[in-house]
Amino acid sequence: MTLSVTIQHRFAGFDLDARFEAPAGITALFGRSGSGKTTIVNAVAGLLRPNAGRVAAEDHVLFDTARGVWLPPHRRRVGYIFQEGRLFPHLSVRQNLRYGTWFSAQRPRPAEEKRVIEMLGIGALLERRPGALSGGEKQRVAIGRALLSAPRMILADEPLAALDEARKSEILPYFERLRDEASIPILFVSHSAAEVARLATTVVALEAGRVTRQGPAAEVLADPAVTPLGARAAGAVLSCRVTRHHDDGLTELDAGGTPLFIPRLGAAPGTPVRVRIAAHDVILSRQRPEGLSALNIISGRVQEIRSGDGPGTLVSLETPAGRLLARITRRSAEALVLAPGVACHAVMKTVAVAPEDIGGLGGPTGQGLL
């Protein structure tokens, strides 16, 4: 189900004019603070009536100012995770979580509820009221509330910003499952390149109210010109398949014929997974390096070299596993005499593939890698 969004809105001093398509899966809205992400999400949810625009999920029109269509928020059934929680202070955590099911035709699913509560680690808080929760706890309940409302679409406005890494890596797989199993569109606002890279099917980059870049995650994230992401966000996403699990806690993937070792993944052999390899984590070498602790070496051919005015250079490699990006210093690029067409080897550590950089079913089982 594709969500097509066209929104024009003016605030005093801010002008939003965004148009993008969000295909099935997770569409990340990526942009600096104040670039209009929340405004867009609010319009999709029906909480803000934009000056003009149209939002439709296939032929289900949420609103269309040209045709005078305006579905009220409660009939849009979006699961909105607000940037600021917005829990109901007079209801217990449990009641907050169930709130969305009170108005839904579907029966609440206790198993699903249990799963979400466990994932969010809020089992001990169910009888409390939001006033007695910590910041992160509030945010987790807010996530649970939205997820349990049986929504037709999820709008997540920086849902994980207040959470610690460990908790994040417990929640991310859930979003992945939503992305892969349910076919509902998910708009996901985030500042974290790693989060976006791991989750997003599609990335929409916003700058001062305009869409500067949109497209499949692998493409957009590989483009260093996408300003809001910053240089550190550059990276490539490789589509792999699980080959086997080794006894020493590693999982071997098949990336277009090349083996790739990553920390143990809870996915059966044969399962497709996405692995993001950040450009700054890749080391290049002309000869095949020997005796390094790094386990992953992918051979390829230089496709393009881009230099900015900083000390860095972005090298894209054509490999059997797909396009790979490496950010190295200009000095190194010169020392290695890199040029398009030159064959070279990309070295990546196993563990440099961070848990949140691995997508797919389940996520890594080895929480602490040590």
Partner: protein, 230 residues
């Protein structure tokens, strides 16, 4: 109790009944009016606002007189209601009507203040979770304005307990029927030597209202605590 005669007890009971009914029946329309004033925009809004405040502005005697003209057995509304068996004139129901009308502005204002303090963001959140306007109101707005409703009810109840001018003008002062505590107090004050009897009734009136007050404070604190957590 020895120190209250049967007729005086009757007045106490009647006052309680009248005030309770006035408050209970006043609540729903007051809530509606408060909601309309706080949330809606419509052409005659200023007029509604004025009407709601009218019983406060007018001397009670005038209000009572207007009630008599409207809801009396010969009044335009009263005569129609009489057809369907609803009689206000010279009944305790009339006293309740008068007290309710006098208390109305107080009910409305307290609720309106509370309504205006409700964070619309919470109501929006409820809407995104599938709650229609009515459900949002019932599940979010209403619980959040509970303190205002309680406060309004207490004010209204107290006012109803003290109401006199409109009541006596509208339904007169018939022992056992329309003689509320204030009317009884008034009657005692009209005759030589009635002061001490009046004082007794004043004491009863104050005691009843204070109990209601304490009860309401307790309820409000509970509602408050629930929202604050723990």
């Amino acid at each position: 109790m020895e120190w209250l005669g049967p007729e005086e007890w009757q007045a106490v009971r009647l006052s309680l009944r009248v005030s309770l009914w006035a408050t209970l029946f006043g609540l729903p329309p007051a809530l509606l009016a408060a909601y309309a004033l706080a949330r809606w925009r419509f052409p005659g809004k200023w007029l509604l606002n004025g009407l709601v405040h009218l019983p406060l502005i007018l001397p009670p005697v005038v209000t009572g007189y207007l009630l008599l003209l409207t809801f009396g057995t010969r009044g335009p509304v009263g005569s129609v209601l009489q057809e369907i068996g609803v009689v206000f004139a010279f009944r305790w129901t009339g006293a309740a009507l008068a007290a309710g009308i006098m208390a109305f502005p107080l009910l409305v204002r307290a609720m309106r203040l509370s309504l205006e303090a409700v964070d619309p963001k919470l109501e929006q959140a409820a809407a995104t979770l599938g709650a229609s306007r009515v459900w949002v109101f019932l599940t979010v707005t209403l619980p959040l304005i509970l303190p205002g409703i309680i406060a309004g009810s207490v004010l209204g109840f107290a006012k109803a307990m003290g109401e006199f001018g409109a009541t006596i003008t509208f339904v007169s002062n018939i022992p056992g029927q329309t003689q509320t505590l204030p009317s009884a107090i008034y009657a005692f004050l009209q005759v030589p030597g009635g002061e001490s009897a009046a004082l007794r009734l004043v004491a009863v009136s104050v005691a009843v209202a204070m109990s209601a007050l304490l009860l309401s404070e307790w309820l409000a604190r509970r509602a408050q605590r629930r929202v604050a957590g723990t």
